[in-house]
C-alpha cells in the first residue's frame, strides 16, 4: 500500500537523438514528460522503470509553429500553453476546449501534449494500489492472467481516456514519430491499436516528436461527459469536425475517446456527405456511435451509460456545429 517511488536513474538529454539512444541502451527505460500520468502509475506499482528519460530539456520540443499549411505542435508543449495559445484559440478552438478540460490547473501546467497522446489506458481493476491488485490476483494488463472485466476473453479492455486525441483525429492530424531509424510521419489514427495492454503502435525507443494539424475550414468542437466538472477523465468524449456548403454536408469527421482502448474515428460517416443535418441524420449518427463504441466495465459509471452518453453528445455537437 506504500506510495513510495522505486529507485530509478534519471537521464536528461538535450536532443531527441540522445533521448532515443539513452532509451535503447537500457532495457526497462521509460520516457517521462510532465509525469502526471507516469509518476502516479509508478507510485502504484503498475509501471516500473529503471531509467527515466526526461524529455523536458529536449531542444525545440515545446514549440508551436503555425503557417498557412497548418500548425505543428511539439510534443513537449504543455497543456496549459496549448490552451492559452492565441493562434490555437482562433484557428482550432476545439483544441483549446479539450485542453482546458484536462485534469486540473496544476496538472495542466506540467502535463504535455505528447504525454496526453501516449497516456496509459485506464481501468478500475488496474489503477489501484499494489495491495489492492494483489488482493484481487492482479489482471491481464499487469502481472495476472485473467481480465476481471471480461473474464472469458483474452484481451484487455482498459479505456484510452486522453482528451486531445479525438480533437486531433477529427482535425485530420498526423504525428511525427522519431526512432532509431529516423523519423516517420503517420496519420494520428495509426498511432493507436485496439488493445488495452498495448494501445500504442510505437516500436521500442520510438517517441512522438510532434503533431501536425492541417489548415482546416471545418468547424470543430469537443465535448466530454464526466462525473464532475474538473479533475476527471472523460467517461466519453466526442470531437466533431463538420463542413457544410449550401445546406449540405461536405465533410464530417467524428472521433471518440473514453469508450474504447484507443481513440478512434467513427467509420461510415461518408454516408452523410451530401445530406443536411436533420433529425434523420442525427439519428443515423446516434446509431453509428452506439454500434461502434465498445465501453466495458472499466469505469465506475455503467458501461451502457457511456454508450448512450457518447451517442447523445455526438448528436448534440453535430447539431450545434450545423447551427441547426
Amino acid at each position: 500500500m506504500s506510495a513510495r517511488l522505486s529507485e530509478f536513474q534519471l537521464v536528461q538529454p538535450a536532443r531527441i537523438e540522445d533521448a532515443i539512444a539513452a532509451f535503447v541502451a537500457k532495457p526497462g527505460a521509460r520516457y517521462v514528460a510532465g509525469g502526471t500520468d507516469l509518476l502516479v502509475n509508478m507510485r502504484r506499482g503498475i509501471v516500473s522503470a529503471d531509467r527515466l528519460i526526461d524529455l523536458s530539456g529536449v531542444a525545440g520540443w515545446g514549440s508551436i509553429d503555425a503557417d498557412a499549411e497548418g500548425m505543428t505542435i511539439g510534443a513537449g508543449v504543455t497543456i496549459a500553453a496549448l490552451a492559452r495559445d492565441p493562434i490555437v484559440i482562433s484557428r482550432y478552438p476545439a483544441v483549446a476546449q479539450a485542453a482546458t478540460s484536462i485534469a486540473g490547473p496544476g496538472h495542466r501546467n506540467v502535463a504535455t501534449v505528447g504525454g496526453n497522446l501516449c497516456l496509459d489506458t485506464r481501468c478500475i481493476y488496474y489503477n489501484q494500489s499494489e495491495w489492492w491488485r494483489k488482493s484481487n490476483d492482479y489482471c491481464l494488463k499487469n502481472r495476472g492472467d485473467t481480465c476481471h472485466v471480461a473474464p472469458q476473453g483474452k484481451r484487455c479492455h482498459a479505456a484510452f481516456s486522453g482528451d486531445l486525441a479525438p480533437v486531433f483525429l477529427a482535425l485530420g492530424a498526423s504525428a511525427e514519430i522519431a526512432g532509431v531509424d529516423g523519423r516517420r510521419r503517420v496519420p494520428l489514427s495509426d498511432l493507436y491499436v485496439e488493445d488495452g495492454r498495448a494501445h500504442l503502435s510505437l516500436k521500442p525507443g520510438e517517441l512522438v516528436a510532434s503533431v501536425h494539424l492541417p489548415a482546416v475550414l471545418a468547424a470543430c468542437a469537443y465535448e466530454k461527459v464526466r462525473a464532475r466538472g474538473a479533475i476527471d477523465y472523460p467517461l466519453a468524449g466526442v470531437a466533431v469536425a463538420l463542413m457544410i456548403a449550401g445546406g449540405k454536408i461536405v465533410m464530417l469527421r467524428i472521433a471518440l475517446t473514453g469508450t474504447n482502448s484507443r481513440p478512434f474515428l467513427l467509420a461510415d460517416v461518408d454516408q452523410f456527405i451530401g445530406k443536411s443535418v436533420d433529425d434523420a441524420m442525427l439519428h443515423g449518427v446516434d446509431r453509428l456511435v452506439q454500434r461502434q463504441v465498445q465501453p466495458m466495465r472499466t469505469t465506475l459509471a455503467a458501461a451502457h451509460y457511456r454508450r448512450l452518453a457518447a451517442a447523445a453528445v455526438a448528436r448534440r455537437v453535430v447539431r450545434r456545429l450545423a447551427g441547426a
Binding site: M1, R4, Q128, S129, R228, G229, A230, I231, L300, A309
Partner: protein, 773 residues
Amino acid sequence: MTAAFASSRPGVPLIDGIDKVLGRARYTADLDRAGALVGRILRSPIAHGEIVRIDTARARALDGVIAIVTGADCDKTYGVLPIAMNEYPMARDRVRYCGEPIAAVAAVDEETAQRALDLIDVEFRALPAYFISKDARAPDAVLLHANKPGNVEREVHHDFGDIEAGFAAADLVREHRVSCAEINHAQIEPHACLADFDPVTGRLTVQDVSQVVYYLHLMLARCLDMDESQIRVIKPFVGGGFGARVEVLNFEIVTALLARAAGGRVFMQLTREETFITHRARPQTDVVLKLGMKKDGRFTACACEVTQRGGAYAGYGVVTILYAGALLQGLYDIPAVKYDGYRVYANLPPCGAMRGHGGVNTRHAFETLVDRMARELGLDPFAVRRANLLHAPMQTMNGLMVQSYGLAECLDVVEQASGWKERIGRMPPGKGLGMSCSHYVSGSAKPIHFTGEPHAVIHLKLDHDGGVTALTGAADIGQGSSTMVAIAVAETLEVGIDRIRVISSDTAVTPKDNGAYSSRITFMVGNAAIDAAKNLKKILIAAAAKKLEAHPDEIDCAGGIFRVGRGGQAMLSFKEVVAAALVDEGAISVKGSFTCPVEFQGGKHRGGAVGSTMGFSYGAQVVETSVDEATGMVTIDKVWVALDCGHAINPLAVKGQIEGQVWMGMGQALCEETRYLDGLPAHASFLDYKMPTIVESPHIEAFIVESNDPNGPFGAKEASEGALAGFPPAMVNAIVNAIGVELDEIPATPDRVLEAIVQHQRKVKLAQKKARS
C-alpha cells in the same frame, strides 16, 4: 419568539487562521519525528475469513525491523460505545473486511517496513462475504458476529401516537423507497499518529489527528493495559474530521502498541487509500417511508423503515440507527410516528458518524415524499411546511425538548431571497427549483460514556502578564471551536479577544472534554467558558472594589475599565485590576462547567437518549438546478440557505459553516459515493471519490436566523450540521421540477439520472399506449 438577521455583525477570523494560511500550523505529519521508526500495517486481502496461521519469523529476521505486533499482542476490544465494543485493533482469529489490520511493523525506514509486511505469511480459511444488507440478512448467511442473529446489530422499533388513526385520518397516503449510497468524510488530512513510549518511565505520549482525545486516552489505557495516569494524548492541528476521527481508530492503538514493543517512537501515516479503508462514515441506507397528509398539507402520520449497511463492526452503529428514527421528530408537528430500524453487519469497512449523523438519509426520504404528495394535492412546498410548524417551547412525543424554533423565519427568508413565488412554475426548460427543511442537535444531552461528571469543564488561568489562558479539552479540528471559546471568555470579561489565548486538547494540561461530535462544543463548552469567565470576573471585581474602596456591587466593568458606578471618576485599567487581584491570590486559576439537566436527556423508552439535546438548529434552503437530459448531468446553479443557530457568536464562522454544510450535502447529493468491487474499495483516491470541485460549486447565499435559545451560550445553538440534510432533498425536488423525473437514488450521478429519464420515458410511452388502446 423574536428572530433577527445577524449579518450586521461581521465576526472575527479564526484565531488560528493566520498560522494555517502562512503554513506555520503543524499537523501530525509535520511534527518533529527525529528518531522515529516507521510504522506500517498489514491488511487483509480478503473480505471474510478465519485466520489459520500468522508467521512473522521471516519478517523479524529482516535487518532494520525493530518490532512486529499482531492480533496476539492485544486481546482487548475497543469501540466508542461501551455496550458495543466488538473490534480488536488487529484481527485475532477472523477478518471481516478487506483492509482490516492483521499485523504491523516498526522499522528503520519505510522501504524496510514494506518489505517486512511482504514477508509476513498469513493463511486464511475463506468464508462467504456479504456486501449488501439483503445478502447479509439472508436466513442461511454466515454470522459476522456469533451473538448477532441475522447479522443485525440492532433493531429499533419505536411507536409514538396512534399510527393507524393517523393514516385513517389522512386525505392522501403515499409510500416510497429511497436508497442513499455510502459516502465518506474525505477530510483533506490523511490519518497519522506519532507515539512515544519511554521504556524507562513506562509512559506513553501520543500525538494524533483525533477529534476525541479523551476517548483515545481511555482506549489506549484499555488496549495497552496501562494506568491512565501514565498516558498523555496531544492533538496538534487537525486537517478536518467531519466525524472521521470521532471514535478511536485501529491505527492509533496499533501505533501505540508498536511504540511500546519497540521501546521508542513510532510514526504512522496512512495513505489516502488506507484512510478511506479506515472509513466510519455515512452508511448505505434503504428507507421505506409512508406519510399521511390532509388536503391542506397537515401531516397525520409517518411510518418509516430504515436499513443501514453498517459494515463489519459496531462502531457508532447503534447510535446511528437510533438517530435515524429520533430525528423524524423535532422538526415538524407529526401526530403519530412509527419507526423500524435495522443496523446490518456486512463485510465492508465499519461505518460511523458523519456530519449530520443519522438524520440525513431519512430526512432525504421525508422531504422528497412531502414534495411528491404536495404536487399530487396541488400544494406549494412552502405552504406544506408552514402547515406543520412546531410551537416552542414544547416536547416531542419521543421526549425531545424544543426551546427555540426559528424555522418559520428560515422559510420566509429563503422563499423571498430565491424569488420562489415569482419563479416557481415559470422556470425555463431543464431548469428547476426545489426546497427542503432540516434540523440537528446541539450536542447529545446524554454523553456516550456516562460518568455523572459535568458535560463540559473549562479552566482559565490569569497571571502577571494580564493574559487569560483558556484551557479546554474541546478539539478544534478546523471548525473554529477555540475561537468560540476565546470570544465567549472575552465577551464575558468585556476585554479584547487578543487578551485570550486558548490551549486545546492535551490531556496533561487541559480538562477532560468529550470531544468534537454531535455539534456539542458551542452549546456545552461555550456555556462552560461563560461560567468560568464569570467566576474570573467576580475575582477581578472583588479586587477592583477593594482597591477603589467600594462594594463589589457598585463596580461597573466595561471595555476592560473598572469604575465605581457607571461614569464614575475613579477607575482602574484591566492590568491594574489584575495586579491588585494577584496581590491577594497569586496566579489565578478558575474553572467553569456546564451540565445538561436530566429533563433534557431524552425520552424514557429504550434508546431515548439518542437525539436528546438542549436545542435544535433549524434550516431551510432552496436549490436551483439545470439538468442536461441528453447526458443526465446535473448542475447546481444557486443555493439560498437560512440557518437558525440561536445566536451567531461569530457570524463569520457561522457563514463558513453554513456554506460547508451545503457543500457537503451537495457532494452526497450530486456525485460522492464509495464503491466496492468484491469488497475492495474502488473509490479510495480523490480522483475516484468524486468530491465536487470549485467548478461545480454554486454561489451559496447564506442567511443567519437568530431565535435566541433560552439555554444556549448568549442564546446560541449549533451551526455546523443543521442545514446539511436539507440539500439532497432540495436538489432532488429541483430535478423533478426541472424535468418531471423522480430519482429514487442518490447521488444523482449522470448514469443514474439518465437511467431514471429512460425509465420515465418508457413509463410515459406505456401509459400513452394503454390510453390509446
